[in-house]
Amino acid sequence: MADQTAVFEAVREGMIPAHVYNDREIFELERDRLFNRSWMFLAHESEIPDVGDYVVRHVLEDSFIVTRDNKGEVRVMFNMCLHRGMQVCRAEMGNASNFRCPYHGWSYRNDGRILGLPFHQEAYGGEEGFKKKGQTLLPAPSMDTYNGLIFISLDPDAEPLEDFLGDFKFYLDYYTKQSADGVEVRGPQRWRVKANWKIGAENFAGDMYHTPQTHTSVVEIGLFREPKAEKRKDGNTYWATSGGGTTYKLPPGTLEERLAYVGYPAEMIERMKESWSQDQLDVIGRDGFMISAASIFPNISLVHNWPKVEDTDSDEVLPFISLRQWQPISENETEVLSWFIVDKNAPEEFKALSYKAYLMCFGSTGMFEQDDVENWVSLTNTAAGSMARRLHLNSRMGMKMDGSEVVPALTKEQFAGPGKAYVGYGEYSQRNLLSKWADYLEREPEPAKGISLGGAIRGEQGRTSCSEEQNR
């Protein structure tokens, strides 16, 4: 494998070798050193509200069943029969008390424990030959949740999720904790685009600069009043530990007036006041910034916008929130999973119109999203060639040649959010995201421990001792 040191050095300078957006070797590094280690989003608890509910999700090629077991606990299990490796669940979603492998009939409870092993006595000599007791589908090496968002890491020694998310939790709450009961998440729409996964993540993390150009059409048709160039540059971009995003500058007013300006009804505003900290409220009420797009490293993004959803003469808008994952398929293909998010306690009419706003703007049919993907496919195509190996894309916006800042970072008095924030156009977040990417890709992978069942590989500890407690 080629030495990529020069690539990582250039990326840290904000100069991006264009081929990283379509390069097999880079993609293999990403698989082995990034996606095998990082915390990865799988699902939201509200997608499996009832006992027995499940969804099947992926981390690259690895399929996982996310279930709510009979005790009501969320479990994430590798979707591979312990015997011959079949997928034990071949549906995307449903409700099941157990999963039966169609190949030889091994079955597993919805918490992963082996339930049935046909002819256990005759074929294996019972427990003495294959220890069934305590054996489970492989649990995700690490699993944790934040605001109901279920993450796993393939690294059993991953740092705690809360540490990984770090200060970005402050911003994540705007999208996923608008009231004490949290959100409901619907979807996802899934579709595949011939674009590299990093482009979307970078775009949502901080690209305010593309909005007035790429998304001109949605302003022209009266769907959206905000993305006009002069308005977009009044917002800020921020980066905090694991993620970054963009904001819009709101017109003068109180906290309540500003939340109403983007279309929240009074009762939702009251609940926001109860669930957000003073700093979280100050970002809006005192500082006048409203969160918009964001990305969490490595591959999930969020968006919050407020279009006009009904045919009226008034300027009335309604907000929606979307969560999406840029699931890498290869160096030049990405599966987009796009969910709609709405506060659980929102009025039903709000939920319906917010859903409509989402469909009109983002997702597979969204009028914002359509134009983005066209650009990203084109970029990915171009990045495959020889010339792209020579060109370093300039991602230094907001920074002068000598590394000094074009504008100073906002002070705590100007912006109550954690991390570092700057008003105006800049590629701060994109640089942060790709620097983090370089950190992961540079670090040699630790060899993953083998797992052998019923244990008979010499010199290796069998997994026969796997206790039930280990899965709790």
């Binding site: 979807g187 729409q189 011939k194 001109t216 048709i221 769907l223 319906a352 859903y355 469909l359 049919t365």
Partner: protein, 195 residues
């Protein structure tokens, strides 16, 4: 055990305005004047869509149109549903469709500049009477071939359709379209097209 779940608009939060007229009885004979006229209507429509004459297409839609394509999901046999709860690709009324059409008329809808080359293949057409003389149900299969740029792989979208056509003078207006898309993961970069 059934493997077919007809699209149920009650699963949409945005169908309150839509007609609930259902088909009645067996399909009409292929020489029935209503079938012939409805068949002609949907063939004519494919030309509007292929040629991207979207304003003309919009004029063929009733004011209470519900244009609905739920997200298909793979579920176990006997699960009782095969679409994602509360989520669709399209869940449109006339206003939202009109915004989509208006966008294509700006000079900044990049996703269709250069435009896609589209070919809708519509077949398996059958027509049903309803409990009123002014409306008929038309079922069909559609296969969209979409090519973009010079070397990009083309995209194909396959879907079953159940339409409600309403009499309008000598012709028909589309009052409802339920689209059963045949893939859970779409292999096209977006749905900046209509089916």
């Amino acid at each position: 055990m059934t493997t077919h779940y007809p699209i149920d608009a009650r699963r949409s939060q945005l169908a309150g305005h839509a007609s609930t007229t259902e088909k009645v009885g067996e399909s009409l004979p292929f020489d029935d004047p209503r079938h012939l006229s409805a068949h002609r209507w949907i063939v004519e429509e494919t030309y509007l869509l292929d040629e991207q004459r979207y304003q003309d297409w919009l004029a063929t839609l009733a004011d209470d149109i519900h244009y609905y394509m739920p997200v298909k999901v793979t579920t176990a046999l006997g699960a009782g549903y095969d679409t994602a709860p509360g989520m669709a690709h399209f869940d449109e009324n006339k206003y939202s469709l009109s915004r989509r059409v208006a966008r294509f008329e700006t000079e900044h809808a990049w996703t269709e500049d250069p435009p896609s080359r589209l070919r809708h293949f519509v077949t398996n057409v059958r027509t049903f009477a309803t409990d009123n003389d002014d409306e008929i149900v038309v079922e069909s299969a559609t296969l969209l071939f979409r090519s973009r740029g010079d070397i990009n792989e083309p995209a194909i979208v396959s879907a079953g359709r159940r339409d409600l056509l309403r009499r309008n003078g000598d012709g028909w207006l589309l009052a409802r379209r339920h689209l059963a898309v045949d893939e859970s993961v779409l292999r096209t970069q977006n749905l900046a097209i209509f089916l």
